[in-house]
């Protein structure tokens, strides 16, 4: 999976920066994502990881810089945001499940309304992915009736059910126990093999090491270091990276 050619580039981030008011959050971000890549973004709290994902999904508009999706500039005015997002999905740090719908409806609505699938197919598909994350028995529950980990798995299933080309995960395992993390990891690995491109923000270094073929380490809004997990986790070059990974490497 390392021998990606230029033709395979799905997302290209060029000189991206984002400022909230007077606070610069992202500073000159540059990286490429190839087809079927699993890119993990790590970094300390507040370093801008979520903001970066939100920029890629156009939920925040970059202050400057370019984002190319399959070679097309998507920050231009001509982009159809909705159809772009139906191809580039996202799982949020705080889930954002639809409060007015049951779990099943949450997973079906996008398929029916956006992908124009019929109800039966959508339902089968939704239950298929809910089963994958172990939430099939809860199809009649409302989001407010679920535990944190359950909501998180629904959020993952909802995004998967849309069967997008690229999926952005914002800390998809934060509320899960180690066993569940393992299950989700397996699902992701399988999806990666099937050709899904993923960008994952995570604090679980073990998870990142297992699943990723590219690691991006962020600090203070900059990309400090980027590389294959075998390099970053074994031989971090930047002192900030060394400092950040200190505890994880010691634990290994």
């Amino acid at each position: 999976m390392d021998n990606n050619t230029e033709n395979n580039i799905v997302l290209e981030i060029k000189h991206l920066s984002k400022t909230f008011g007077k606070n610069p959050i992202l500073k000159d971000i540059n990286f490429n994502v190839h087809k079927s890549d699993v890119t993990c973004i790590i970094g300390s709290s507040g370093s801008g990881k979520s903001t970066l994902l939100r920029c890629i999904n156009l939920l925040e508009f970059p202050t400057s810089g370019e984002i190319l999706y399959n070679g097309d500039e998507i920050t231009s005015n001509k982009t159809n945001e909705a159809s772009y997002r139906s191809k580039v999905g996202m799982v949020f740090q705080n889930f954002n499940l639809f409060n007015n719908m049951t779990i099943l409806q949450n997973c079906m609505i996008g398929q029916i309304k956006v992908l124009k699938k019929d109800v039966e197919t959508s339902k089968k598909n939704a239950i298929y992915y809910l089963e994958k994350v172990g939430m099939a028995p809860y199809i009649n529950a409302k989001p407010r009736q679920l535990s944190g980990g359950q909501k998180q798995r629904i959020a993952i299933a909802r995004a998967l059910a849309m069967e997008p080309d690229v999926l952005l995960f914002d800390e998809p395992t934060s509320a899960l126990d180690p066993q569940m993390v393992n299950d989700v990891l397996n699902v992701m690995k399988k999806l990666a093999n099937e050709g899904l491109t993923m960008i994952i923000v995570t604090h679980e270094m073990a998870f990142a090491k297992d699943v990723a073929n590219n690691i991006i380490f962020m600090a203070n809004g900059f990309i400090v270091e980027e590389g294959h997990p075998s390099e970053i986790f074994v031989n971090p070059k930047n002192p900030l990276t060394k400092d950040f990974l200190g505890r994880f490497i010691n634990n290994e």
């Binding site: 909705a82 956006v114 089968k124 809860y138 409302k142």
Partner: protein
């Protein structure tokens, strides 16, 4: 003397009926003129104690022509006596006050026995018989008032007083009390009596029959009648003489009636009037509750029809208004970013501006004024003659829409922005996000507001009376005026409003808890899942269960 307030209500109502169905024409032509032995008498059947409508034939009431109701009162007693003496078959025809003289002139009725005073104007239109009653002007006070012992009008000096608007009681009699503190005139006899009962004034000036009727309703009143005393009001006979009218030139009937009247004197009249008033008092029961039942019995259908019109306008307009409000609110809550194409931004800006003007204008100006401008103005300016019904629905809907737009804008803003992001992230367009995610949640949150608005509409349709919509409040004012039962009628209408609004608000509350859904969920079983998906095979491994 005439209750002008009542006249107004009834005449507008009547005009409306004519307007809609031309029933009067049909009615007039229906009358066959060959029944020679019939004595057709026109009266209003709603001007107690002279004449009124009652639902049964108690106290010798006479059936009203082509109606299931009965007429009674001083006029009816006199009419019966005249018919008896002249050996004619009496028929009572109920007519609008303003239609009395035309009906007489057109021969629809033979005579009017309708409590009419013999004013010069009327004399030109009809021939009057000798008076059949003398309605002297009297003063009503509270029995415990310091003026209760007055011996003449000069003893009433410095009293605060009022009477009915546009009557000679107010215009001519009242100012004759020395140093009187003349307060603003009351719109109807019923409010005049209510003001006295509430001790907002020391006394009211009225005529004897009205005063006697009032005593039936207000036991605490006392009549001060200074007749025969020099220290009394100076009023011309024209105003106080009440006479029967016949068609101009019908001397035969006039003379016949006069011979009957000649057999009676003032004492007879007073006795008959007392009889009528006591019949009225016995018709109108003593206790508050019974009076309410009495009114409901007689006018139940009118109340029902008024309530129906009110509910129809309120419901339809609230639904239309909500739709308008959602459309406007959603557009106004549409975010614009600097990155949208310039055309889209300009367009959205213009649309938002127009909607803003719409909302601010209709929220900001009274519906009554709008109703008049729209109804009259549409014809004057655009030559578009809209129907009263269309105008009613249009005006209330467009107003509700303006209010709802603001409510919905607020409701949308109070939904967690994460919901929008969640929807966008699965590729929904703005419109889809609104329809499937935001509006359902907003709708639930603003249900109390929708309920508020429906209730406001139920009550506010009353301003539509300016364009002639016969809704509940309008109907009630008419009934209150006809029976002098001010507090009773308004108690009934308050109860009706309360029932309507309470029912609506309970139904909407129920909807609220229904939208909230059950507090608990059922775990889907293997069977359910297999059934719903038709494919899915639920794995029962302990691991899955443990999750």
């Amino acid at each position: 003397m005439k209750n002008y307030y009542k006249t107004k209500i009834i005449s507008i109502f009547f005009a409306f009926i004519i307007f809609l169905s031309n029933t009067l024409t049909v009615f007039a032509s229906d009358i066959d003129n060959n029944a020679k032995k019939t004595f057709r008498v026109g009266m209003e059947c709603g001007y107690a104690p002279y004449n009124w409508t009652q639902p049964n034939n108690k106290n010798g009431a006479v059936p009203i022509f082509e109606s299931s109701d009965y007429a009674n009162g001083y006029d009816v007693i006199m009419a019966k006596r005249i018919a008896d003496e002249l050996n004619l078959k009496l028929e009572i025809v109920k007519l609008d006050w303003d239609s009395l003289v035309p009906a007489l002139q057109s021969g629809t009725v033979d005579a009017l026995i309708a409590g009419q005073s013999t004013t010069a104007n009327r004399k030109k239109m009809v021939d009057f018989t000798e008076p059949y009653y003398y309605a002297s002007v009297v003063v009503l006070v509270n029995a415990d008032s310091k003026f209760a012992k007055a011996k003449g009008i000069s003893d009433l000096s410095h009293a605060s007083a009022t009477s009915q608007l546009n009557t000679f009681w107010y215009d001519i009699a009242l100012p004759q009390i020395p140093n009187v503190n003349k307060l603003s005139a009351q719109e109807s006899a019923s409010t005049m009596l209510a003001a006295l009962d509430a001790k907002k004034v020391d006394l009211v000036v009225t005529d004897l029959p009205t005063a006697k009727s009032a005593l039936a309703a207000y036991k605490n009143f006392k009549i001060l009648d200074f007749t025969g005393n020099n220290d009394n009001f100076h009023i011309s006979n024209e105003e106080t003489n009440i006479a029967i009218s016949v068609k101009k030139g019908d001397t035969e009937l006039k003379n016949a009636i006069n011979t009957v009247l000649a057999k009676m004197d003032k004492n007879d009249y007073d006795r008959i009037m007392d009889q009528a008033i006591s019949a009225q008092a016995s018709t109108l029961p003593n206790s508050f509750i019974q009076r309410i039942i009495y009114i409901l019995d007689g006018y139940g259908f009118s109340f029902l029809r008024g309530a129906g019109v009110t509910m129809l306008i309120a419901l339809v307009s609230t639904i239309l208004g909500c739709i308008i409000g959602f459309a406007v609110g959603v557009i106004q809550a549409t975010p614009t970013s600097k990155h949208d194409p310039i055309i889209k931004r300009v367009l959205l800006f213009i649309i938002k501006l127009i909607l803003n003007i719409y909302v601010e204008f209709f929220r900001g100006t009274p519906m009554m004024v709008q109703a008049m401008f729209i109804y009259f103005g549409s014809a004057a300016l655009f030559n578009f003659n809209m129907s009263m019904w269309f105008a009613s629905f249009f005006i209330v809907s467009i107003n509700t829409g303006a209010y709802m737009a603001e409510t919905i804008r607020g409701g949308i803003l109070s939904i967690d922005p994460g919901q929008v992001e969640g929807a966008k992230a699965i590729g929904m367009t703005h419109v889809q996000t609104m329809i499937y995610v935001i509006i359902p949640q907003t709708f639930r949150n603003i249900l109390p507001q929708i309920s508020n608005n429906l209730i406001i509409n139920i009550k506010d349709t009353c301003v539509l009376s300016v364009i002639g919509t016969v809704e509940l409040f309008y109907v009630t004012k008419g009934i209150a005026g006809a029976l002098y039962t001010y507090f009773e009628s308004f108690t009934i209408v308050i109860a009706i409003y309360f029932i309507l609004t309470f029912t609506c608000s309970k139904i909407l509350r129920h909807l609220e808890s229904k939208l909230d859904g059950p507090d608990n969920y059922d775990l889907a079983t293997t069977d359910t899942l297999a059934h719903t998906s038709g494919l899915y095979k639920y794995s029962e491994s302990p691991k899955e269960e443990g999750l």
